[in-house]
Symmetry: C2
Subunit: 334 residues, 2 copies
């Protein structure tokens, strides 16, 4: 059973998951995951037996669960960071705090074919994937043990991908992650002082400033944030205030999938298929809708190296001004 | 001039330093910095002309500044993240905040020979380096524009080193880094509640628990923290409460250099010269001594990859229990 321990100074949690050390680095030392052959890929159509049984899928009418003819499959992670069974058993050890590593760790296999860049997915597949994300978040939030669900994607080995076939992951945790809590605290302070959502104000300013804008539609906007940590970092936000991704209605979901595909194509073309991560920041599963918090997707290209200064300070050094990155991203025909 | 921008949500600062993009990656694509030849190394004795003029040095009596016969040289970083000249000129841009990228960025060249692993430095050289760190921090804190000085070391390319020759860096910033602020806030809450320094309590518990202890001397203690983010992460703390590193007296400085050398040798032997960072967390330069904060050195081996989950949540996944890492580190004869 993994164990969760809390740093008493900063309140951040660490998952001690010793099983994961034995996780096969499928690509071998120094071999990029991209080089994996499709016939060995556990995520390709026809290889369904190589994954744990599916939890959810978008598949052809009448096709058999765990057989072929699917578009999106959701399966438990074979080497989960947290375990779905058991109780938290919170307790202290002197001044320290720990609990059992209870949580969910699901993998969304996005597309039956061996595509390794998300930008290569068709618009309808991106929409199917987004619908699956929404569905699984709706389901997992009903489990009272979980306080939060973080949906993320690792693209490329440098960004932490251990398998190249397009996939996302959802980890449900028994505590709200410290970074999301910091965002919520900051946004709450702004709301208490100004009486408005900070993110809504950002959206307004970005649309009127224009210079950091990547794309603006009726329902969503994408821009390079003013204080982007990474070169070409891009955020996607709904224009209308909403704290929880999983509350998205169908029309908005389609608009979201469209702008997401477009932004990823811009990024992959502008930087030549860089390694990157996407992280969805949405409201916690404890408590209801929030006036002061606004869900958003963060896309961070991993083309710089965080060194001692960044790890020690929380400062970031970004060599590319957001306004210049936005020009380059706007230029691309997605 | 670099620019500092603040993320309005979390309060973290980003340094936009466009000059640094042109910094030569001396080792070339895919080539480890270790492979650089000593005769090309700007940090080796005899090549003093290849660095900016020295700010401070520990050198043979009577030897000429910027000439050979030194043990430690401190020079401005040739590609500084922040610039020493100018005023901050803080101002808003709509809801955002920015200021000029004013600060200091100094490099400590540790040893005249082309040694690439800190554990290879002699005890007396480690002490000379620590004395130089203390001296430069004492000097820079007198500059009223600076709120903090972060001393750090990058070892190995994966850890962000762009030159292999042993060196540390000190970046003085006009704001207290968000990670140090979070540590101070957490420690202050503990102090307000318990009336004691949290770090002093940790030291006591680690000494009595023993299982995470790496080394304990009369003046310093080294252990793997209970909630270590990284495998084999090691912290070094003074046993007696002290908030500011640069206030260290000579006898303590010698004990610090000794335990530091010993811990680095343990780490390098146990993991076979891993890439790693060291970061010194000490009290800010604004205000005086703090009852609730305790300076310490954090050593983080960079043998795991932070992926979307870690970047998006602030959770860490560590495959090695601190108690097991400590056993391995204790085994090594340093």
């Amino acid at each position: 059973m993994p164990e969760l321990r809390k740093d008493p100074i900063t309140g951040r949690w660490v998952i001690f998951s010793t099983d994961r050390a034995s996780r096969p680095q499928s690509m071998g030392e120094g071999k990029a995951p991209e080089s994996q052959r499709a016939e060995d890929c556990p995520f390709c159509e026809g290889n369904e037996g190589k994954t744990p049984p599916e939890i959810y899928s978008v598949r052809e009418w009448g096709s058999a669960t765990n057989g072929p003819k699917w578009r999106v499959r959701v399966v438990p992670n074979k080497y989960p960071a947290l375990r779905i069974e058991g109780e938290l058993e919170k307790r202290g050890e002197g001044i320290y705090d720990r609990m059992n590593g209870v949580g969910a760790h699901e993998v969304f296999i996005e597309g039956p074919r061996h595509l390794t860049t998300p930008a290569g997915l068709s618009p309808s597949l991106l929409l199917d994937a987004a619908a699956a994300h929404r569905e699984r978040m709706r389901d997992l939030r009903r489990d009272r043990r979980f306080a939060y669900g973080l949906l993320f994607k690792n693209v490329g080995r440098t960004a932490g991908a251990s398998l190249p076939h397009n996939h996302s992951q959802l980890i449900a945790t028994p505590v709200v992650p410290v970074l999301v809590q910091h965002e919520m605290d900051g946004a709450k302070r702004f709301f208490d002082y100004r009486g408005r959502c900070l993110f809504c104000d950002m959206v307004q300013q970005e649309i009127s400033d224009k210079e950091r804008l990547v794309e603006a539609g009726d329902r969503f906007v994408a821009f390079v944030p003013y204080a982007a940590r990474f070169p070409y970092e891009t955020w996607i936000l709904p224009r209308r205030h909403a704290s929880h991704f999983e509350e998205l209605e169908d029309e908005d979901l389609a608009a979201y999938a469209a702008i997401l595909g477009s932004c990823l194509r811009r990024l992959e073309k502008a930087l030549g298929n860089p390694p990157y991560n996407t992280m969805l920041h949405s409201g916690p599963w404890v408590g209801g809708a929030l006036e002061s918090y606004h869900w958003h997707l963060e896309v961070i290209p991993r083309v710089t190296t965080a060194a001692g200064f960044e790890w020690g300070s929380g400062f970031y050094i970004n060599p590319v001004l957001p306004e210049l990155a936005a020009v380059e991203l706007r230029k691309v025909v997605p």
